[in-house]
């Protein structure tokens, strides 16, 4: 027994990656019945969650900032290796994925009536590739997993999506493909210019600082464009509203919940970890970009009439905070950015779920078709209010923790002084203050949404609607319970990644300071 445990712990990460592949294969051979496929994939997803929890609670030491659970196998010669490892940063993203997956599977029930086998197999494929992105420690492997995610996601939107799904799926494909091309070019550029003769990310990150400045800049920009397409950020954000509007509810949950975080993770891992000098140089521009995202997308939410579009734009706005946190190069900003990714994953999943429940009953997402829904769906109203409050960063809900850490971190950052103004404080701080407008705007669009959908005189057209089903309540209660718990006691989450992110910040400051 001991040997078995030992064996598992030595191969824990590859097991986590292997389970969804096995699940996908098994599901492919099942009879084409939805409940069976769903229950099986739910079991597998719970197994993944269990594996992740075992990994976290058995040998994982958050205070150790080095890579843990390293698995390093030869693959294509010595250059391209199959290297998996984790640290605080990646394990928290893996945890988010593991939490979201069962929830998404429960929420899939009404969607997957058509072609259930294919649907759940695709879902498992996405899982493998996303987990692979977070666990890969070889740049080539990272790229492969990054691209692998594209295929099942394209089909999930294109087969189970709404009326205009082909357009949305194609747009998603093209954008992400461009991102992949940028990354591929950057990977090769980095590989050849560094002369390290390996794709090992740990080694490359040490070499990256020594290559010529122009190449560093080019690599950084290519990587950065790739990641902000995924994040998404202005001006590459337009695929997101379309994809969300057309994607089925669980796919939207997955997309907003975890796929966007791949971009954020990449920025942490590669842009900050490999090219701290460039990040510090361009910090100010990134802050401006972040401020444009945060405020611009928030205003965009005010003028939408499609509920899913509002939440999609609000994702753009909230992921802008991650950019702000990274660019601040302070430990509060870094830590806040990770927390923001985590909490946004939970909150946006809950919001998409809620919109999905409404859409499933009414078959319209236009806000003007609603009104006074509280009368018919009181439970939905309570959950919706809670999720909206979390989204507008109400204290004691998790959205607040990330945003306040980022605000404090970004405002106190030393790195925004490259563009000093004649007045007492620097331009970066002006951008941070400008982003603070979003505090008002977010409240405005979220509450206006509640008001138009749930309050006022009821629309008698919907008088036959039923309130939330048990399965929907389970999904929402799970997500929002975590939002509340991590909002009240954030240390329980931040302990997991905090030493890694602080170590990253101190590494960055050391490199930049030694410039």
């Amino acid at each position: 027994m001991d040997k078995l445990t030992e064996f598992f712990l030595q191969h824990a990460l590859s097991t986590i990656l292997l389970v969804p592949i096995i699940a996908a294969v098994i599901i492919a051979f099942l009879p084409n019945r939805e409940p069976l496929c769903r229950i099986l994939s739910l079991i597998f997803s719970l197994d993944i969650l269990l594996n992740v929890l075992v990994v976290i609670f058995s040998k994982f030491d958050p205070n150790l900032t080095a890579l843990q659970y390293v698995e390093n196998y030869q693959w294509f010669g010595d250059t391209i290796r199959f290297k998996l490892a984790t640290d605080g940063l990646s394990i928290s993203m893996v945890l988010l994925m593991a939490i979201l997956l069962p929830v998404v599977i429960i929420a899939s029930e009404p969607i997957a009536k058509e072609k259930p086998k294919l649907y759940y197999s695709m879902l498992m494929m996405v899982t493998t590739s996303v987990l692979g992105v977070f666990l890969a420690q070889d740049l080539f492997l990272f790229f492969l997993f990054w691209e692998l995610e594209l295929i099942p996601m394209y089909f999930l939107i294109a087969i189970w999506g709404g009326a205009n799904r082909n357009y949305a799926a194609m747009k998603f494909l093209i954008y992400t493909f461009v991102a992949g091309v940028c990354m591929f070019a950057a990977v090769l550029l980095l590989y050849f210019s560094s002369g390290a003769n390996t794709f090992d990310m740990e080694v490359l990150s040490r070499y990256a600082g020594s290559i010529p400045h122009n190449f560093q800049l080019a690599c950084f920009l290519l990587f950065f464009i790739c990641f902000i397409i995924k994040l998404p950020s202005f001006p590459f954000h337009t695929w997101l509203p379309d994809a969300h509007v057309e994607a089925p509810t669980p796919v939207s949950m997955l997309l907003a919940g975890i796929l966007l975080k791949m971009g954020g993770y990449g920025i942490y891992r590669i842009c900050a970890g490999f090219f701290p000098n460039i990040l510090a140089e361009l910090g100010l521009w990134i802050v401006i970009l972040a401020a444009v995202n945060i405020v611009g997308a928030a205003i965009a939410c005010l003028v939408q009439d499609d509920m899913k579009r509002i939440i999609a734009y609000s994702s753009v706005s909230h992921m802008g905070f991650v950019l702000l946190g990274v660019a601040s190069l302070t430990s509060a900003g870094f830590s806040g950015g990770i927390f923001q990714m985590f909490s946004h994953g939970l909150i946006s999943a809950a919001l998409f779920m809620l919109v999905g429940t409404l859409y499933e009953r009414t078959h319209t997402r236009q806000i003007s078709d609603y009104g006074g829904m509280t009368k018919y769906m009181p439970k939905c109203f309570y959950f919706f209010t809670l999720a909206c409050m979390a989204n507008l960063a109400l204290p004691v809900l998790s959205g607040f923790v990330g945003e306040s850490l980022i605000f404090y971190g970004a405002f106190t950052s030393k790195f925004f002084t490259t563009f000093p103004t004649t007045i007492h404080f620097n331009f970066g701080q002006i951008c941070v203050l400008f982003s603070a407008i979003s505090v008002v705007l977010t409240a405005g669009y979220m509450l206006w949404l509640i008001q138009r959908v749930f309050m006022g005189p009821e629309n008698t057209k919907w008088s036959k609607l039923t309130d939330l089903r048990t399965s929907e309540i389970v999904v929402l209660a799970l997500l929002l319970a975590l939002v509340v718990i991590w909002g009240i006691y954030p240390v329980s989450l931040s302990n997991l990644y905090e030493p890694s992110s602080t170590a990253l910040v101190s590494y960055v400051s050391k490199v930049v300071g030694g410039l």
């Binding site: 090769l188 965009a300 509060a332 004691v396 405002f411 106190t412 007045i423 505090v439 006022g456």
Partner: protein, 648 residues
């Protein structure tokens, strides 16, 4: 014993939270259990907080402060905890007692509402948040609870969500408050930024260390008094929070609309406790204001302008609750003005007395509204004294207290404020005195229109049930007598200022009736009294004797009347700016950016480039699938070739 009472004072805040959670998760089906839990928890809080007040009063040197880390990132740490000092003890008693009376009142007032349990759950949640705000040890924790009371207020204003007016009001209240919160957040960021070296081994942004922190920053030349990031700007940004929460001009617009909520809410949240939180926060951040004279005078003038501005609106409103709401704005203006004038104790003293009599007035208005079958228009009331003697008696006490009838609670606190205005700022004294006159006029107008004359409505008014009248009677007692603790009539003189003060306390050794007479027989003592008499007399003349001054004003001074009646068109101005400027400009620019720049140039432009390239490539390549591959690998190859040539 005393140590234990202080140490466990967090129970006062915790029990309402527990009762709220119990109601939400287990007892929502039972009205009796919900009411019992909610009232019971706040009754415990009231008793405990009275003990706390006694303990602190007996030994005012005894402060207790405990902090727990909440989150940290590198050197940046945030804490939550609880602080018990004289100011906190006073606020605890005010919040618990008003909350207790309001919850008893709710038992009768809301008895026909289907969501009775939910209402109690929200009330308990609010009580918890408000007590948490009072207990806060640092500005950051205050910000947390500041938002929580805001969201409770949102939920309760929108309690009758099916009314479009309530739905609008709750959104408006939250968004306007968020404007203030954004300012407060910016203030906190600037404050933390300028003093960050100070907090290394201390509780970040704690109230008790605020003064040394600012001195430190000022002396080490990090933080100037006046400048872009300076004590003055920090103080002004922080002030935005209280301006929104305490409904100060120009962020007052949400408070009158908030009257769409049930009346107990108006009494508890929008008269006595939450709206006073702004004043409380200014008092807590006093070290910031003390060193910045410009900020101080801004505070004083905002308070003064609000006091007179809202009083002018209250003159012409017909809705009984809206009249009271504008009166609340006006009285909050007095408190803010007092703090701005440096009269720290006077401002907080008025906060306390106002909490009692204004809560009572709102509860009276609720009683009247119930009796008249949900009629809120005073033109359809009148003569109710006959039908509801208890309500009319308590209402008269409240009216006398707020207009400054000698020896009643409002008299003492308002006089203290006006005396300090006389001392420091004569124009503000005039503003205050005129507002006092207007206050007396519109409060007696309310009283006469509602209770005297003949009944003008169509229903059958009746006195309300004991669960409504008993809280009224019990609140009438502090409304009359609570002011005495700040008066020179009791032994030892002004006890309130000796208990709650900022900096060094100047003891009022003199006391007795002669001292009171001597203070009254000065210009600053007689003018408020005269204002009270004139205002009352005018109201009596117009609304009892039927002397048609109001008709005259309505007919011949139409513009002035319209300004008052239409609330100076502030709402209209805001909505005009929002609808005619912000949205159109935004729509145009966003459409431009999204459609032209992003979709046009980036997406379609790149598609165009691709098709151009593809068009060119079509001669050498036939399949579309290969096109992508070719483009990708071609470009990668190109990059590689470039690189290899450069490396050699």
């Amino acid at each position: 014993m005393i140590d234990q009472i202080l140490k466990y004072s967090w129970l006062i805040a915790l029990l309402p939270l527990v009762s709220a959670l119990l109601i939400i998760f287990f007892f929502y089906f039972s009205r009796k259990i919900s009411a019992f839990l909610s009232i019971g928890s706040v009754a415990y809080g009231l008793i405990h907080s009275l003990y706390v007040l006694y303990a602190i009063y007996m030994n005012s040197a005894k402060h207790i402060e405990l902090n727990f880390p909440w989150i940290s990132a590198g050197a940046f740490k945030l804490f939550v905890g609880y602080l018990v000092d004289p100011l906190c003890a006073m606020m605890l008693v005010v919040v618990c007692s008003v909350s207790f009376f309001v919850q008893v009142y709710t038992y009768g007032y809301m008895k026909d509402d289907p969501s009775y349990s939910k209402f109690y759950a929200y009330l308990s949640l609010f009580t918890f948040s408000m007590l948490g705000l009072v207990f806060s040890t640092n500005l950051f924790q205050s910000y947390i609870f500041w938002e929580l009371v805001g969201v409770c207020s949102y939920l309760l204003i929108g309690f009758w969500w099916y009314k479009p007016s309530a739905a609008n009001a709750c959104t408006k209240a939250f968004v306007v408050n968020r404007v203030g919160d954004a300012g407060l957040l910016i203030g906190l960021l600037m404050l933390y930024f300028s003093t960050q070296n100070f907090w290394n081994d201390k509780i970040t942004l704690s109230f008790s260390q605020l003064r040394p922190a600012i001195d430190f920053a000022v002396h080490s030349n990090v933080l100037p008094i006046v400048g872009i990031i300076s004590v003055t700007t920090i103080a002004l940004f922080v002030l935005m929070g209280p301006m929104a929460k305490s409904a100060q001009f120009p962020l007052h617009v949400w408070l009158p609309d908030a009257m769409e909520g049930p009346t107990p809410i108006s009494a508890l949240i929008h008269a006595a406790t939450m709206v006073a939180a702004g004043v409380y926060l200014i008092a807590r951040c006093y070290p910031l204001y003390i060193v910045a004279p410009v900020a101080m005078s801004v505070v004083a003038w905002i308070g003064g302008i609000t006091a007179i501005f809202s009083a002018t609106i209250a003159l012409s409103q017909y809705d009984i609750k809206r009249t009271l709401a504008y009166s609340t704005c006006s009285q909050l203006g007095y408190m803010v003005m007092a703090l701005g004038l440096g009269a720290y104790s006077a401002g907080l003293f008025h906060l306390m007395t106002h909490a009692f009599f204004k809560a009572m007035l709102f509860l009276c208005s609720g009683s009247v509204i119930i009796a008249c079958h949900h009629e809120q228009d005073m033109r359809h009331m009148g003569g109710l004294r006959k039908y509801m003697p208890i309500t009319s008696m308590t209402c008269l006490i409240g009216v006398l207290a707020i207009s400054g009838f000698p020896l009643m609670s409002g008299f003492w606190s308002k006089d203290m404020i006006l005396a300090s205005a006389w001392e420091h700022n004569k124009p503000l004294f005039v503003v205050g005195a005129v507002s006092a006159l207007l206050t007396a006029f519109y409060m007696f107008r309310l009283y006469f229109m509602t209770f005297s004359g003949n009944y003008r409505g169509h229903s059958h008014p009746h006195e309300t049930t004991p669960s409504i009248t008993i809280p009224l009677i019990l609140l009438a007692i502090p409304s009359i007598f609570i002011g005495l603790i700040g008066s020179p009539l009791i032994k030892g003189g002004d006890k309130f200022s000796a208990f709650i003060f900022y900096g060094e306390h100047h003891a009022h050794a003199e006391w007795g009736f002669n001292v009171f007479l001597k203070e009254l027989m000065t210009i600053q003592g007689l003018i408020p009294l005269a204002a009270f008499l004139i205002g009352t007399f005018l109201a009596w003349l117009v609304y009892v004797k039927g002397f048609p001054i109001n008709k005259f004003v309505q007919d011949n001074l139409k513009p002035i009347y319209n300004l008052s009646f239409n609330k100076w068109y502030i709402d209209e101005i805001y909505f005009w700016i929002l609808n005619k400027i912000i949205f159109p400009v935004y729509r145009i620019s966003w459409n431009f950016v999204d459609k032209v720049v992003v979709d046009g140039v980036f997406v379609n432009g790149s598609a165009f480039v691709v098709s151009l390239v593809g068009g060119g490539l079509r001669y050498i390549e036939t399949g579309r699938g290969q096109l992508y591959v070719l483009v990708i690998f071609g470009s990668v190859l190109f990059a590689l070739l470039l690189l290899l040539t450069r490396l050699k």
